[in-house]
Amino acid sequence: MKNLLQKLTRFRDIIIPFASWEMLIMRFLCSLLFFDALPDGVEFSTMPYPNGIGKWVDVTFLAAPGVWDTLKWLTIPFLILYTLGRFSLPALAYLTLLLVAYGTLRNSQGAIGHNTQLVALVLLAQWGMCLWESIRGARKGRWSWTDDLSRQRMMIHAARVMIAATYLTTAISKIDRSNGHWLWDTPNLSVQIIKTQSNDYYNDLEHVSPVLMDTLPNAMADHPWITRILFSPGLLLELFFFLALVGRGWSLGLGLAMIVLHQLIARLMSLEFPNHEILLWIFFVNVPFWLYLIGSRIARLGRPTPPTTEQPSVAGV
């Protein structure tokens, strides 16, 4: 047992030493995603079924005339500060609270949606880590409103850990709530596909696919073992996605695999999670780094290049 534990501990997540320009791009893209996640207006003025902090705090004030517009536009200076790594502590606190307040109001209508939770959790994780690192700095007599390289890396790491934990909890829910029968029950996805495709059709009477509403579900119900084999990789990917924290190569591979899984689910079941996919692109696939790497390798083929002042680490590649 001890031996096994020692072997496992070698396989830990590492804090990837991202370069400051990489993290600047990540925070910039994250800011765009956050702003896009905020609606243009608030259509709910009551909370008939309070959820989350809505059980104690009335957040319907967001629907009052002019309030939402003001609060939404106030996010812009805070997003700029967060992107630049200055005053992240108050900036992230404001951004997180605003999204949590809106999400709470929306989820207090008696129907729980899951589109913006991960964005809010990623902000919350970064804010929590920023607070932790700020306090640690203050205890050493080094309080700073500017995020140094180390704090920036820890904040990005916190965001990545939160995303990985979300996928792990998704897998745990499937295993726990089905009493371990989830894979065995996958042929019943046939009726779920009919349901989601029908839902999609009845939304606007435009999208109808005879293959997805009839042919495929019948084939799945008719061939249960093939269905189980085809759907098992999805559950395994959710369960072991946290291995993406091991390094850059793992992040790229598992990040892309998870995006493919989201796309397959979107096509099969009309269930789209664009925010999740974008977060995977930003924090796991990290295209700018790979473009940089390819570019620098190509450049090096031609001539030897002197070391630059700051190069992103290729740890884990």
Binding site: T9, F11, R12, D13, E43, P48, Y49, N51, G52, I53, G54, V100, G103, N107, Q109, G110, A111, I112, G113, H114, T116, Q117, L121, A125, A158, V161, A164, A165, T166, L168, T169, T170, I172, S173, D176, S178, W182, D185, P187, N188, L189, S190, V191, Q192, I194, K195, S198, N199, Y202, N203, D204, L205, E206, P217, N218, A221, D222, P224, F242, L245
Partner: protein
């Protein structure tokens, strides 16, 4: 054997916990499981139980013409199903809505229709008022590889005369 003093015990527990690979992921996943649905926390229960039967809902006017729900009310059909189930759980006094009575189902359906009409897009309000609105359920069952369907009317708001 006497118990070690608490600080020592805590230190040992922390040393043990630190051995757990991906400790942050594990702790956060457990936190998300424990918080259930508490925005922004979620344990993402969608499709975690794959029962052989499901139901979904659609809307028609009183003549039976299908009403495009999102276009008319801004809410998706899956949103309506969740709203109906939440109201049903409240009416039947628990999370297990499978044992809800037909009266409770009709009442939950009626409340859901009323909520939808209250949030109807301005340009369709007259249409809904004059033609009425009905909430229908389709029940599908996977029985030994065969998919059976059953339709039923859940609730309705009659046209304004």
């Amino acid at each position: 054997m006497p118990l070690p003093p608490i600080p020592d015990l805590l230190r040992k527990a922390w040393s043990f916990l630190r051995q757990v690979p991906f400790l942050g992921v594990v702790l956060l996943a457990l936190l998300l499981q424990g918080m259930k649905e508490f925005y922004p926390f979620s344990h993402y229960p969608m499709f975690s139980v794959l029962t052989p039967d499901v139901e979904f809902y659609y809307l028609t006017d009183s003549q039976g013409n299908v009403v495009p729900q999102k276009t008319y009310f801004g809410f998706s059909t899956s949103w309506t199903r969740k709203m109906l189930n939440t109201r049903l759980a409240k009416l039947s006094g628990g999370d297990n809505i499978d044992n809800a009575s037909p009266v409770e189902i009709r009442e939950a359906g009626q409340q859901t229709l009323t909520y939808l009409v209250e949030h109807c897009e301005q340009e369709y309000k007259d249409d809904v008022d004059t033609k009425g609105l009905q909430l229908h359920q389709i029940f599908i069952e996977n029985k030994d590889g065969h998919l059976n369907r059953k339709k039923s009317l859940i609730a309705e708001i009659p046209p304004r005369s």
